[in-house]
Symmetry: C2
Subunit: 146 residues, 2 copies
């Protein structure tokens, strides 16, 4: 059985917060971890339903919020207006293809540093940021120019 670390992490969070350990939560966590990339609650719902036909969308929706609180997932909302979830990991930013929806992650210490300098200049305390580059990925750029 995989994802043992995450399962334990969820259990710990549930215990610490006097929340209950349910099959639904377990199943949703598993479905989320098995998927790769940036996935919507809808998509997670579809996947989780394959094995657990009675799990409702609302439960998926609420569980994803819970996984975010528990530090296992993080929420992203790009310009298409739908919320997606990704596995929580080191901070990074995104390249988003406007044609095929492909999402590439990047991180750049230089930009992070520069951005703090800018904030300082305005006496601004940065709590979080978003930095997204929208355009066309390699394959789509080729298609478009045809």
């Amino acid at each position: 059985m995989s994802h043992e670390v995450e399962k334990r992490s969820l259990s710990q969070y549930l215990e610490e917060h006097n929340l209950k350990h349910t099959k639904q939560r377990e199943a949703i966590l598993a479905a989320f971890l098995e998927a790769t990339g940036h996935i919507t609650s809808e998509e997670i719902h579809t996947r989780v339903r394959a094995d657990h036909p009675n799990i409702g969308y609302t439960t998926v929706y609420r569980t994803m919020k819970l996984l975010c609180d528990a530090g296992l997932a993080s929420e992203r909302r790009f310009d298409d207006g739908v919320t997606r979830y990704e596995i929580e990991q080191e901070h990074h930013d995104h390249l988003v293809c406007l044609r095929c929806g492909k999402i590439i992650e990047f991180e750049c210490a230089m930009i992070e540093k520069t951005q703090m300098e800018i904030a300082d200049r305005y006496q601004f305390r940065v709590l979080r940021h978003r930095h997204e580059l929208y355009g066309h990925c390699d394959a789509c750029a080729e298609e478009v120019s045809k």
Copy 2:
């Protein structure tokens, strides 16, 4: 009379696209230009109503889209989920205070350059980007720490 340049610019756009020149469009443009900063259609509607009580929200909404198409305004949507409009100008990014809503503009050639280098690395053609730093402005940071 002020905003002559913008008025002419709008007229030209309307003519070129076989659209009609109406009092509403004129009034909405004026209200938008008189306001400073990042304003919602709601707010523009309220302002324009002071002088023109019969102009409906829908018209403001549509006219703001039109002004964007005409290159006079640009649309922004920060993490609070409401769309705001700003006067079209040189490219820049934003610092957004999560407490008071204050929006500070910044621009940084260094970051722009670095970001293009990153895109190149992934063979990605950037068409636009968003770079937003969320946190507390000077005054709010002080309040919060009290």
